[in-house]
């Protein structure tokens, strides 16, 4: 049995293009270790997942998000 498709949380928030400066939004789509969550877990559609991946990488460079979470130093 196929599970009914989850709606994309980013589309639902009315976001056209993911903003790398919105660290509170991006933080919802990274794992406890700081990795980008796969869309099969987060339900993000493919277009937004591509934008999200780039946005997370920009946010990491700007020290808005950690590269690796949950370790000292």
């Amino acid at each position: 049995m196929r599970r009914p498709k989850k709606p994309c949380p980013i589309t639902e928030a009315g976001i056209r293009f993911v903003d790398y400066k919105d660290d509170r939004l991006l933080a919802r789509f990274i794992s406890d270790y700081g990795k980008i969550l796969p869309s099969r877990l987060s339900g993000v559609d493919a277009r937004h997942q591509r934008q999200l991946a780039k946005a997370v990488k920009k946010a990491r460079f700007l020290a808005l998000l950690p590269y690796v979470k949950g370790q000292q130093g």
Binding site: G14, I15, F17, Y20, K58, R60, L62, A63, Y67
Partner: protein, 131 residues
Amino acid sequence: MATLKTRMAPTRPYEIVYIFDSALEDATIAEKLEKFHALLELAEPAEIEHWGRRQLAYKIGRHEAGYYVIANAKASPATLPEFERALKLDDSVVRYMVSLIERVLGAPKLSDEELAARAAAADDDDDEDDE
């Protein structure tokens, strides 16, 4: 640095994020921003948004916090190499990023009516959860 073939004064919209040393005074930062933006030879002044001091997600060198500034400016690509050189040489700039604005980021700003409608919808959802 490769020279770009640019026609006369074509400008492109850029978003520049600066992370300054958080120990700097606000007046010094404003002064530095003015100095940097002068290098871009802007026709109209840049839109500047100060985020202020915030904790960095990880240490950059000895810095644990930074003063964030976001600037939107229409600049000619030819002015960028000199601008970036100045940023690299300035020790008070912990990090910077210049990106081309190709699309409007984030959600479009909602009107008051839409906000009210959304708030009402959120309330309805809460009611359903209670039952």
